[in-house]
């Protein structure tokens, strides 16, 4: 058996396996921390920054991502403070302004409490969460897809822009891509994007309390606690 450690998340003492991340520990215990780029059982890259929490050390709190933070004995974590909710909302607003056409991203925005989007919408085809790259098993451990380019030119590509010989057609990449979940009302036309907020009533409780209610949003962002994904 793996040794256990006790961490305190939002006031609850949780016993969890050494080596697991704070995000995993929280989800396991039923505390909802929104997340996007993390893929279960694969080392997190910390790219989406939605899973941020406050890590309190000697009275000082530090904002950090819970998917990359490993549990340690006696650790104190706050996942649902005013500060965190605001930061998370702002990050989710950036995301949804870039990809209003994704149901998963719309779900995340609503889950994170985004009420309005203050930037002009853009219809990107990819939010660069990196889930596909993370998941791609490739051939002999060499991935068929990867990130290329830097900054605003960053994109996911297979080498030389053609379907790579390393691709074994497993389909993992599209299965878990947040852009492949079709929005309820179908894709939005350019210039007519909006924040859908259709399912808002479902989450009033989750945002305030930070408790997992096995919500439907989880399907959108492939939360493994979501009933559809169980």
């Amino acid at each position: 058996m793996t040794p256990k450690v006790t961490v305190n998340i939002d006031g609850a003492n949780i016993k969890t396996a050494r080596g697991s991340s704070v995000l995993d520990a929280a989800l396991e215990h039923g505390t909802c921390i929104p997340h996007l780029c993390r893929v279960p059982y694969i080392e997190s890259i910390g790219a989406c920054r939605l899973c941020i929490v406050e890590h309190v050390v000697n009275g000082w709190s530090k904002v950090t991502t819970s998917c990359t933070l490993l549990v340690q004995e006696g650790m104190v974590i706050l996942s649902n403070t005013e500060k965190i909710r605001k930061l998370r909302r702002n990050v989710a607003e950036l995301l949804v302004s870039q990809a209003p056409n994704s149901r998963a991203i719309q779900d995340i925005a609503v889950r994170c409490g985004v009420k309005e989007v203050r930037y002009p919408f853009r219809n990107s085809e990819c939010v660069l969460c990196g889930r596909c790259v993370q998941l791609c098993p490739g051939t002999f451990g060499v991935k068929a897809i990867g990130f290329v380019g830097r900054g605003k030119d960053r994109r996911v590509e297979s080498p030389f822009d053609i379907r790579s010989e390393l691709c074994n057609e497993c389909g993992s990449c599209t299965d878990l891509c947040p852009m492949t979940v079709v929005p309820c009302d179908g894709p939005m036309k350019t210039g007519e994007e909006y924040l859908c907020r259709n399912c808002e009533s479902k989450m009033a409780f989750a945002e305030e309390q930070g408790i997992c209610i096995s919500c439907d949003f989880g399907e959108g962002f492939q939360c493994e606690r979501s009933p559809q994904n169980f």
Partner: protein, 617 residues
């Protein structure tokens, strides 16, 4: 080069070198840094050497080509010892006169002397030049004493005695204690206490450890690390050797920016020499300590200077930052404990060991000890590399060293700390270049960039410039940095084009603070600084762009109009002939006027007019 096997050998070698040097009657110190090379200093050196040979002075006069002296805009430059005579803008043809007059007759060649732009006076010696006088040059001064390609030069001035002192007289724990007590903080940007970093790395479990020197220097306009590594590579190596001894590392790396070929060459040469002479080897000088250093070339992007990206790049992976929930002093290069320090940080180490921590701590302010090298540029009279104690005020740097505004313009602000630093207004110039003070004021010391800006600078445009740089350099991995910078730039572009609205100021502030708090690495965490600091001190300029649709400095093209000042116009007609768009009307003896419908705001008329009659408002 003979190998040395003991400390005694090293001391004997130093004694011999010093004795040889006594025979020399004069030394011509020529700067051979990248800046002076650009102004063809090599030709000057060759001409001087030829001339000395011709006159039979080859043996008694020493010509030393050294690293950068910091006053690059005056290059090629030369200092003659004894006498400390300073010549600037030298041409190869001057060699004959210099040798016959100055060396043989002891006379000064007046036309090669430096003229102080403030007083207009000729100045004879280097130490009297205001640019140098107000500085506290400790590290930079050493550049003048050594030929960077000669380990003998370095050993002659006492080089490697700090390392041997540490190796044989000071146990690792005490070395760390000494560095801690000195108060040395990282010169690469963060200002992290070096001693604390070393202590954590020393304590970290594992036998295999690394030290790395960060010479990736990607800040536009910064070149202090280049100057040190190019000009005095052995000093940096000695610092690393002491660090390696303290934390227990067997291997070191110098990670040099790809665009620095001369620094790479000199660092490689220095490592080779240190190996040959026996200072980098197994069981160095008969001790139990083994250590070696390799030179690696940078990955070619700004973000590669970030600690985790640098280590990824050294491992042969893509140079991209990763989360640092476990510090690199425990989990660094190849997951081993690693101490990464900046070039200038390492260069400070030997003198601390040699002179003691209290010597170092006697300079600077309460929280920021020692000196800092600044890259002074912008709208001032003297630009170059400047080294000052860390309690020196910005006023001293800008006015005493920099000589104040060029063209007599008044100075509005300084931007400190590189692209992700902040802008401070002139009424904050009484602040010292101190890590904590500048951070509190919304800027930072950073790696030491200092750009002086006069009244003709638009601060919104400045923020836009730095955001554009950071957008290009962001790796794009994390959402707040990639999308946040993009959106901030979108808003600022709106503002500079006259499409801004007042609520966008609040949004900029909120977004900036979100990016700072949530981004993955230091680039994103500091990317909002140029925006936040200009909003803090120059909010009125943002408001003028938004409400009055005016750019007060007359920089943002969309918001300015060109007009002829009727009082100044002499009706010469040059502007009319120059305007490629046919936008200027006027006849002989008639004040000219600009047709705003046709004007493309190219600015050609303004540069053509000899009477400053074209106004931009």
């Amino acid at each position: 080069m003979t190998k040395i096997n003991t400390v005694k050998d090293l001391k004997a070698l130093r004694k011999r070198l010093l004795k040889e040097r006594k025979k020399i009657r004069a030394t011509l110190v020529l700067c051979g840094g990248t800046g002076c090379q650009a102004s063809r200093c090599q030709d000057v050196t060759d001409a001087v050497k030829n001339e000395l040979a011709k006159q039979g002075l080859k043996r008694s006069v020493c010509v030393r080509t050294t690293g950068c002296h910091g006053f690059c805009e005056q290059g090629p430059l030369m200092v003659i010892e004894p006498g400390n005579i300073f010549y600037c803008h030298i041409l190869p043809d001057d060699a004959h006169e210099i040798v016959t007059k100055t060396i043989l007759d002891g006379e000064v060649v007046e036309r090669l002397l430096y003229t102080d732009p403030v007083s207009g006076k000729l100045i004879q010696t280097e130490s009297e030049i205001p640019f140098y006088r107000a500085q506290d040059r400790y590290l930079l001064a050493q550049n003048r004493q050594v030929d960077p390609c000669s380990i003998e030069d370095y050993i002659a001035i006492g080089g490697y005695s700090a390392f041997t002192k540490a190796l044989f007289e000071i146990p690792p724990e005490s070395v760390v204690r000494e560095i801690k007590d000195s108060g040395l903080r990282g010169r690469g940007g963060g200002g992290f206490p070096t001693g604390r970093k070393w202590a954590e790395c020393q304590k970290a479990p594992g036998d295999e450890k690394y030290v790395i020197c960060n010479a990736d220097e990607g800040d536009p306009g910064a070149y202090m690390d280049r100057c040190l590594l190019e000009g005095n590579p052995h000093l940096v190596l000695e610092g690393m050797m002491i660090g390696a001894w303290a934390i227990g590392a067997q291997q070191g790396y110098v990670y040099v920016r790809n665009e620095y070929p001369l620094a790479v060459k000199h660092a490689r040469m220095a490592v080779d020499q240190a190996r040959k002479i026996g200072l980098l080897s197994d069981k160095i000088l008969g001790s139990s300590f083994s250590f070696d250093i390799d030179i690696a070339r940078g990955g070619g992007s700004f973000v590669c200077g970030e600690s985790t990206a640098l280590m990824a790049s050294l491992e042969g992976k893509v140079g991209e930052p990763r989360p640092k929930d476990v510090h690199t002093v425990v989990d660094g290069l190849w997951h081993k404990p690693t101490t990464l320090n900046n070039v200038e940080t390492w260069a400070n180490v030997p003198s601390i060991i040699l002179n003691g921590s209290s010597w170092f701590a006697s300079k600077g302010s309460k929280g920021s000890k020692g000196t800092k090298i600044l890259a002074l540029t912008g709208h001032i009279k003297n630009t170059g590399l400047v080294e000052v104690a860390m309690d020196t005020t910005i006023n001293t740097v800008v006015f005493d060293i920099g000589g104040g505004g060029s063209n007599g313009n008044s100075i509005k602000a300084v931007q400190t700390g590189g692209p992700s630093g902040g802008c401070l207004p002139a009424d904050k110039f009484d602040l010292p270049v101190d890590f904590d003070v500048l951070a509190k004021a919304g800027s930072m010391v950073g790696s030491g960039g200092m750009v002086v800006m006069d009244q003709e600078t638009c601060m919104v445009d400045v923020a836009k410039y730095f955001l554009t740089f950071l957008q290009d350099e962001s790796c794009g991995k994390c959402v707040p940095c990639r999308m946040g910078i993009d959106r901030m730039l979108e808003i600022i572009t709106d503002i500079t084009e006259g499409n801004g609205t007042s609520w966008q100021i609040g949004l900029l502030e909120e977004l900036g603070s979100t990016v700072s708090q949530t981004a993955l690495c230091g680039l994103g965490k500091t990317a909002a600084n140029p925006v936040l600091s200009t909003l803090r001190y120059f909010r009125d300029e943002y408001e003028a762009h938004i409400h009055a649709k005016k750019c007060p400095a007359g920089v943002c093209q969309a918001l300015v109009t060109y007009k002829v000042d009727a009082e100044k116009c002499t009706c010469c007609g040059i502007c009319k002939r120059g305007c490629p768009h046919g936008a200027i009307v006027g006849k002989k003896k008639q004040v000219h006027a600009i047709n705003l419908d046709l004007c493309q705001k190219c600015g050609i008329c303004k540069s053509e007019c000899d009477f400053e009659a074209i106004q931009v408002k």
